[in-house]
């Protein structure tokens, strides 16, 4: 910034407030002049001053010279005051090096050694810890191994015991089974001992063992015999029946013949007639008296073994029957 310009600016700044003041309305300070008088401003200072509106300005410039190097300070040797004195320090006079250096050395070496000791201690502590640990581990391992060995031994012994116990149980069980088997066998033997005889006797009783000839006779001969007997009897019965019918026819004829002449002697004749000791009329008389009994007789004419019911009316019949049967038997 140019110095004259700055000065101009400063002047302008100074004038601005003056103008401001001029523009302001004059405040009534003093009263208005009396009639005929005038207020006039008057300088009352010792020296009168010409007052004008504008300030007289004069521009002035100034410039410093170029910087010159500062000349070297002239050698200033102050005036000598005092006296010249020389001195010389011999060895050992100021201080004794060996004594003085001791504390310094002590500190130096002490600190170094302390540091070194710390480090060595650290390591030694660790080494001790490790050695301790190692010893402990060895001990622990040894004890642990012993423990495991004993455990293993114990386990083996227990297993062995268990196995033997199981074997023993097995043995007992087998023994028991064998005795039971033997007992069962003996019992069964005894039970079945008389099985065969009883079986045979049962079979014998129920007729499984038979004499073939006897059986033969029984199964074939006897039925044939019985059928023959039956035939014979039937023939006899037939004969008798025929005879009966003949006699009946004859009697009826005679009855018819004699009914024309009802004579008491005739009626006796048929009554007498059945009385001849002929087997056949006897039989017919019997037939007439027991006409109703014919069917019974026929019915009761059965195989030999059966007995006929005894009839009190026909005791004669029975006798004749028995005679008949005796006849049959003699046949």
């Amino acid at each position: 910034p140019n110095p004259p310009e700055i000065q101009k600016q400063k002047g302008a700044q100074k004038r601005a407030p003056v103008r401001k003041r001029v523009k302001e309305p004059i405040r009534p300070g003093t009263p208005e002049p009396v009639e005929g008088r005038e207020h006039v401003s008057v300088q009352t200072e010792l020296y009168l001053e010409e007052i004008c509106d504008y300030v007289v300005e004069v521009d002035g410039e100034c410039q410093t010279d170029e910087f010159l190097d500062r000349p070297p300070t002239p050698l200033f040797i102050p005036a000598k005051t005092g006296k010249d004195i020389a001195t010389q320090i011999e060895e050992g006079e100021l201080f004794d090096f060996d004594i003085e250096v001791k504390p310094i050395l002590e500190v130096l070496i002490g600190k170094t050694v302390e540091q070194a000791l710390l480090e060595v201690m650290e390591e030694e502590e660790l080494a001790q810890l490790r050695a301790h640990q190692r010893a402990f581990i060895e001990l622990r391992n040894a004890e642990f191994a012993e423990l495991q060995r004993l455990e293993e031994q114990d386990r083996r012994i227990r297993e062995e015991k268990e196995r033997r116990r199981l074997e023993h149980l097995e043995k007992l069980r087998k023994q028991k089974e064998t005795t039971e088997k033997i007992a069962a066998r003996a019992f069964a033997k005894r039970y079945l001992a008389d099985l065969i005889p009883s079986v045979f006797s049962n079979l014998y009783d129920s007729g499984f063992f038979y004499d073939p000839i006897e059986r033969d006779i029984e199964t074939e001969f006897l039925p044939w015999l019985m059928s023959e007997v039956e035939e014979t009897l039937q023939k006899k019965v037939l004969g008798r029946t025929m005879l009966d019918s003949l006699i009946r026819a004859v009697v009826e004829k005679r009855l018819d013949a004699f009914s024309c002449q009802p004579v008491p002697g005739q009626t006796e004749a048929p009554a007498k007639e059945p009385r001849p000791p002929d087997a056949a009329p006897q039989v017919s008389g019997e037939t007439a008296a027991a006409d109703q009994l014919v069917t019974e007789k026929e019915e009761t004419d059965q195989p030999v073994a059966e007995e006929q019911p005894s009839d009190p009316i026909s005791s004669q019949l029975e006798e004749s029957d028995q005679a008949g049967t005796q006849d049959l038997e003699t046949e």
């Binding site: 650290e122 191994a145 060995r149």
Partner: protein, 340 residues
Amino acid sequence: MAQPRISAYLPPDIDPTKAALAFGRRALPKLNEELQSAELLTQQRALMALCDLVHDPEKVYQAIEIGFLDNLKTLLGHPDNTIRQKTTEVLYLMSMHSVGRWGLIQNGVISALTGLLDDPVDICRKNTHQIFDMMAKLPEGAAGVLQAALIPPLVLKLQTELEEILELILDTLANCLRMEVSEALAAGAVGALKAKLTHPSAAIRSRAAQVLLEISSHPEGKLPVCDEEVIPVLVSLLEDTDPAVQASAAGALMFALVTPQGRSSAMAAEAIPPLLKLVAEETSRARLNAIKALTLLAELPEGRETLLAHTDTFRECLDDPREVVARAAQSAIRAIEWKP
């Protein structure tokens, strides 16, 4: 304007890679804030400073109280390698102290570390496995590792990892499998370990035998060990040159021989002569384990016959200064001389 730095030259003993530590108790909170800053360099410097501070257990305690672990967990997934490496280093140093271990368990840092198992940077992986190893030494830590389902990935890593990391993995597995074995068996640990038993490095062999010991100490672990014919390999390891390998192999046999199949396969592999040699050596660590293994073999009739001839070896063990060995020798003699 006045600045705290007085001159343009830094004092000679400041490490420019580390953040400036505030005084006293303010150090850790300030580092906490710096860890959360957006600038990579600030975070790295803060981590470097933290690594140095964490050697002190009191600082570890204070850090855990303030809540450093949440920030560290977030940083575990940072893309920058240095940050991940330093974070894992800080966590490892924390886990060296008991306070740190408990803090890590309670804040669930183990599960946050599972993502780093496949990290491309070796050091990150190594630190991660070191953390797991330290945590597994604590029973709760081992439980934490098991819960984070780390066993199957660890078993898989057995085949692919570098040697020194392999040792760490085997140690971790040994401690975790002491608790529970089923997950490892499902992941095929026995086969993988059988391959490692013939590794050229003795440390790996002894550790692999140790893991097999832990597996076969569980009942369900004994069967796969017998099935996969690990016992002949273990018997051959009994004659190894390294005493640690012998001790671990004898220990693994000690547990695996409890089962009848184990015993028969051991008899078939002729385990008795090497075991007797181990028992005869006075100072071997394998003595105790060998005595126990022979006790188990003495329960077999043919084992008993063979061992009846060697009872004097056991009588020598009765004079061993360690009480455990003497007791083991006594039970061995009892088992040998037992008549059915």
